[in-house]
Amino acid sequence: MLLSAEELQIHIRGCSLNNRESQKKIYSSFYGYAMSICHRYTNREEDTSEILNDGFLKVFVEIYRFKPAYADTVSSFKGWLRKIMIYTAIDHFRKNHKHQVMGELNETYMHVPSSHEDAVDKISYDEILSAIRFLTPGYRTVLNLFIIEGFSHEEISKELGISVGTSKSNLAKARKQLQKLLYQQNQTVNKNVV
C-alpha cells in the first residue's frame, strides 16, 4: 500500500539515518511502481530485479538529498524514484547491450497491412508490454525513453552515447518491430480462437 505524505516523510528521515525498517517500508510501498518501470527495459527477470535493486540502492544512498519539488510529497518522490530507475536501466543497458544499439541497420522489416491498424484498440496492455519486452534491447530502450518517458532524441543520444540520427532510426525500427510482434500475437490469438 502506498504511504501517505506524513508516513513518507517519516520514513525518508529514517532512511537518511540508514534505518532498515524505513528502508523496507519505502521499498515495499514503491516496489510495484518501480518494477513496472524496470520491467519494460529487460526481458529477463533476473535483469529486472537487478535494475530494481540497484535503483533502490541509489535511492537510499541519496535519499538525504531528496526535497519535494512540489507540495505533493508522494508524487514528487515517485517522480524522483522514476528518474533514478530509468537512469539505472540505461546504465544497465550501456553496460550489457550497448553494442546492439549501433548494429541494427541490417534488420528487415515486415510490412504490416494498414487494415490491421484498427486492431490497436483490441490490443491489451499486457500484450503491448509483453511485446515491448521482446524487442531488441537497443530498440526497446529507445522506444521506452522516447514514447513512455518522453525523452527527446537529443537527450536519448546523450544518455546512450549515440547520434541523434541513430536514435531516430532505432525508434522507427522499434515501432516496426513492435507492430510485427503485436501482429504475430494477434494472428496467433485469432488462430487459437478459430
Binding site: N18, R20, Q23, K24, Y27, S28, Y31, G32, M35, S36, H39, R40, S49, L52, N53, D54, F56, L57, F60, V61, S114, E117, V120, D121, I123, Y125, D126, I128, L129, I132, L143, I147, I148, R175, K176, Q179
Partner: protein, 476 residues
C-alpha cells in the same frame, strides 16, 4: 503506419502495469544494503553505559574517600599483655574489636586466660628520628603497655598497671623490616595497643614479642610468633635470645610518654600530614576573550588568579580561587537590556554597546584526571563560577535621525553579582616538575546560566589558563 494512437496505448499500458510486492525481493535488497550501507553497531548504548559506569565509579570513589578520611588511622600495634586472671576481659574502646584474622593489626579486644597467648602489639608510629628503628619491647607478666591511643579503651585494672619504668626505659620501637636493619632517617616510636589473635573464644593467640625484661611471663615466652599479626614481616625475638633482642632494641627517649595520650597527637599529626599533602596552591594567568554571541568578539585581555586545590582521590580533586580580569566586549540592542536612563528613548535603541568591565571571579571546579602517569596527566574540569562586577563601563552608541553617531557613557560600580551563575568547562594537561610542583595548561570555556552585568547579556568567555601548582606539604 504508426499512429499516435499506438503511442498513447503504449503509455497507458506502462501506466497501468501493476506488480505485486515480493518478500524475496526485499531479502535480496537487504543483502545489497548490508554490503553498501552497513548499519553501524549501536554504540550509543555502550557509550551511555560507560558514561554511567564512570559516573558511578567516580561517585563511589568520592564517597569512599570521604568516608575513609573520617576513619582513624590504623597503626601497627604491638604491646604485650601479661597473662591475666582467667576471665579477665579487657576491652579496649568500643570501637575496637578483637580480630581473628592474623593479618589484622587493629586492636580490638583482649581475652586473657591462663592459656592465653596474648601479646599486645605495640602501636608504632614512625617519626623521623635517625638511628632508632629497632624493636624493643618489654613487659612484665602483669604489665600491659597501654597501647591504645583511644582514651576510651578499657583495660583491666591489673593489667593496666603499666610497667612504666620498663616501658619508659625500653620504649618499644618497631620497624617494619624483619631484619631490623636501620632505615635511614627513621625512628620508630612505640605506642602500645593490644592485638589479640583468637584461636578460640577462650583463648587468644599470643604473638611473639621481643622482650628485654627477665621477668617476662612464661606464657608469653612460649607464645608462637605470627609476624603478620604484629608487624608486617617482622618477628620479635624471644627473651631467651637477648642478642637478637639487643640488636633489635634501642632505648627510646625517656621522655616519650607511655600513656594513651601520645598516640592521639601522633596519629592526628600523621593524619594531618596526609591531609595537608592533598592541598595545593595555584597561581594562574592567561588570555581571556569575552563576547556576546559569535558575531561580535571582544578583546583579549589578561586575567590573573590565585587558587587552592584539594585532592579527594588520585583522580578527583576540587579547586577554587580568586581571579581578576577585564572583560571587554560589544553587544547590540537585541542582546543588551538598555537602561531607561539614557538620554535617548528605548525606542531609539543603540546600534552598539561597548562594554569595559572589571570582574572578580570565584570559581569552584571539580577536576577529574583521566590519564595519569608519573610526570604527566590529562584532566577535565567542570564547575560553577561567581562573577562580581566591580566596575562596569558602557558606551551606548546611537544614530540620530540625521545619521549622526552619538555616544552616551554610563558607569556602574559593585552593582551586579552573579553567584554560581557561570558554567565553566575545561580540560588540560599537567606536567609534574617534581612531587610538589607542577605546571598546567588548561583551555576553557565559560557560559552564563543567566544574564551578566547591567545589560543582562549572555557573556561567554574562552581562553587558556597557565597555572603553576605547589604542594607545600607534599612529600619531596
Amino acid at each position: 503506419m504508426w499512429s499516435e494512437e499506438m503511442d498513447r496505448k503504449i503509455k497507458e499500458a506502462a501506466e497501468n502495469d501493476i506488480h505485486g510486492y515480493e518478500d524475496k525481493s526485499w531479502k535480496d535488497m537487504e543483502v545489497l544494503l548490508d554490503k553498501h550501507l552497513p548499519q553501524k553497531k549501536k554504540r550509543r548504548g555502550i557509550i551511555v553505559f560507560f558514561l554511567l559506569a564512570a559516573l558511578g565509579l567516580s561517585g563511589y570513589l568520592l564517597v569512599s574517600s570521604i568516608s575513609s578520611s573520617k576513619k582513624p588511622v590504623v597503626q601497627q600495634n604491638k604491646t604485650t599483655l601479661p597473662a591475666s586472671t582467667p576471665g579477665d576481659q579487657q576491652k579496649t574502646s568500643p570501637a575496637k574489636e578483637i580480630t581473628d584474622n592474623k593479618n589484622d593489626t587493629a586492636v580490638t579486644e583482649k581475652t586473657v586466660t591462663d592459656n592465653n597467648k596474648t601479646k599486645v602489639a605495640d602501636q608504632i608510629t614512625s617519626i623521623d628520628q635517625p638511628g632508632n628503628n629497632e624493636v624493643n619491647t618489654s613487659a612484665t607478666n602483669n604489665s600491659i603497655a597501654s597501647a591504645t591511643k583511644n582514651p576510651d579503651s578499657k583495660i583491666n585494672g591489673k593489667n593496666n598497671t603499666v610497667n612504666n619504668s620498663s616501658l619508659s626505659s625500653t620504649t618499644p620501637v618497631q620497624s617494619t623490616n624483619r631484619s631490623n636493619t636501620k632505615q635511614p632517617g627513621q625512628l620508630v616510636k612505640k605506642n602500645n595497643t593490644i592485638v589479640v589473635e583468637k584461636k578460640s573464644p577462650a583463648k587468644t593467640i599470643a604473638e611473639p614479642i621481643a622482650t628485654t625484661a627477665a621477668n617476662q611471663d612464661k606464657e608469653q615466652k612460649s607464645t608462637t610468633a605470627t609476624p603478620e599479626s604484629i608487624v608486617k614481616g617482622e618477628s620479635i625475638p624471644a627473651p631467651s635470645q637477648p642478642a637478637t633482642t639487643t640488636t633489635a632494641q634501642k632505648k627510646v627517649d625517656n621522655d616519650l610518654p607511655v600513656a594513651k595520650a601520645p598516640n592521639e597527637p601522633v596519629k592526628k599529626e600523621q593524619k594531618a600530614k596526609q591531609n595537608n599533602s592533598k592541598f595545593s596552591f595555584n597561581f594562574s594567568f592567561g588570555p581571556d576573550l569575552s563576547s556576546v554571541g559569535i558575531k561580535n568578539p571582544g578583546q583579549v585581555k589578561a586575567q590573573f588568579g590565585l587558587g587552592v586545590g584539594y585532592a579527594i582521590t588520585d583522580k578527583i580533586s576540587v579547586r577554587t580561587g580568586f581571579f581578576a580580569g577585564k572583560k571587554i566586549y560589544t553587544a547590540d540592542s537585541n542582546s543588551y537590556k538598555v537602561p531607561n536612563s539614557t538620554p535617548y528613548s528605548p525606542a531609539n535603541s543603540p546600534f552598539r554597546i561597548d562594554a569595559d568591565c572589571f570582574v572578580y571571579e570565584i570559581p569552584v571546579n571539580v577536576v577529574y584526571n583521566f590519564a595519569q602517569s608519573k610526570k604527566h596527566n590529562w584532566f577535565v574540569s567542570a564547575g560553577l563560577s561567581s562573577y562580581l562586577m566591580k566596575e562596569e563601563k558602557y558606551i551606548y552608541n546611537y544614530k540620530t535621525p540625521g545619521g549622526q553617531q552619538v555616544s552616551y557613557p554610563k558607569e556602574f560600580k559593585n552593582e551586579n553579582q552573579h553567584i554560581f551563575s557561570i558554567l565553566g568547562l575545561s580540560g588540560g594537561y599537567q606536567y609534574h616538575v617534581s612531587k610538589r610542583f607542577s605546571l598546567l595548561v588548561e583551555p576553557y570555556i565559560k557560559m552564563p546560566l543567566s544574564g551578566v552585568g547591567h545589560g543582562n547579556v549572555k557573556l561567554n568567555s574562552t581562553g587558556v589558563l597557565f597555572t603553576a601548582t605547589l604542594k607545600p606539604f607534599g612529600k619531596k
